[in-house]
């Protein structure tokens, strides 16, 4: 989950590097994914990895690939929330919800 969140952040950063005009729109979403990774690493008790490869998507003129990544990531957070302990369920639920809102924001 930590790597997945960092990978999502990296995908947004790559998109912003290719299209700087999207920085205002995509920047807050990239920051949210980094915040998710940080919080997940904290509750699991692991160090935050310093570098994670972005999922292989081409930064193109459409945001559809990012939406697809968010959708898959929402599903994995939903499954993780269902299986989580009481202590972690709320965090994973918020992460699943955030990924759903990102899909809406990318429309």
């Amino acid at each position: 989950m930590v790597d997945e969140a960092l990978g999502l952040a990296a995908a947004y950063q790559a998109q912003v590097a290719a299209r700087p005009e999207l920085a205002d729109r995509l920047g807050p979403i990239a920051e949210a994914h980094t915040a998710h990774a940080t919080e997940l690493a904290r509750v699991i008790g692991v160090a935050l990895p310093t570098a994670v490869a972005a999922p292989a998507i081409d930064p193109v003129n459409t945001l559809a690939p990012l939406r697809a990544l968010e959708k898959a990531a929402q599903q994995s957070a939903t499954a993780a929330c269902a299986a989580a302990s009481a202590e972690r369920a709320a965090l994973l639920g918020s992460i699943a919800a955030a990924r759903a809102t990102h899909q809406e924001a990318l429309k």
Binding site: C81, G93, S94, A97, T101, E104, A105
Partner: protein, 145 residues
């Protein structure tokens, strides 16, 4: 802090749904066109969750908190701008109660709580979009700030 039982968490969610339905009554009249229609759909979603919670809590013999005649709004709703701002806030607040229910529930009850959290968080984003407010999203939907 003691973790609330599933029943207590769902009763709190029900009270939040009552307040959301009340607020949408104030919101809808300040909107027109597509936004008004969206407010009506949102209100219907909250009514549907309210009804399901009343049935569920009654079936388990639990205490069903009563609705109240009125609820304090966080700020006056006087025009479209304040109506849209309240709509986004109502969704975030209701989402927070369902998020709180995640820790107290398992299985189908947790799935239902997560579905509500996700739906309301997405609707809050849609209201911000309608209002032209940025950013459209918050990092941890439903988390107390």
């Amino acid at each position: 802090m003691r973790q609330p039982s599933a029943e207590e968490a769902l009763a709190a969610a029900l009270s939040a749904e009552y307040a959301a339905i009340y607020a949408y009554g104030r919101i809808g009249v300040r909107l027109t066109g597509a936004a008004r229609e969206a407010a009506h759909q949102a209100e219907a979603a909250h009514r549907s969750r309210r009804d399901a919670l009343v049935v569920q809590l009654s079936a388990t013999g639990g205490a069903v908190p009563p609705d109240r005649a009125g609820y304090a709004l966080p700020f006056p709703v006087t025009d479209r701008v304040s109506a849209l701002r309240l709509a986004a806030e109502v969704e975030e607040r209701t989402a927070a109660h369902w998020r709180a229910a995640l820790a107290s529930t398992t299985g189908a009850d947790r799935d239902q709580a997560l579905a509500a959290l996700v739906e309301y968080a997405v609707r809050a984003t849609r209201w911000r979009k309608t209002a032209g407010v940025t950013p459209l999203t918050v990092p941890f939907p439903g988390r107390p700030t």
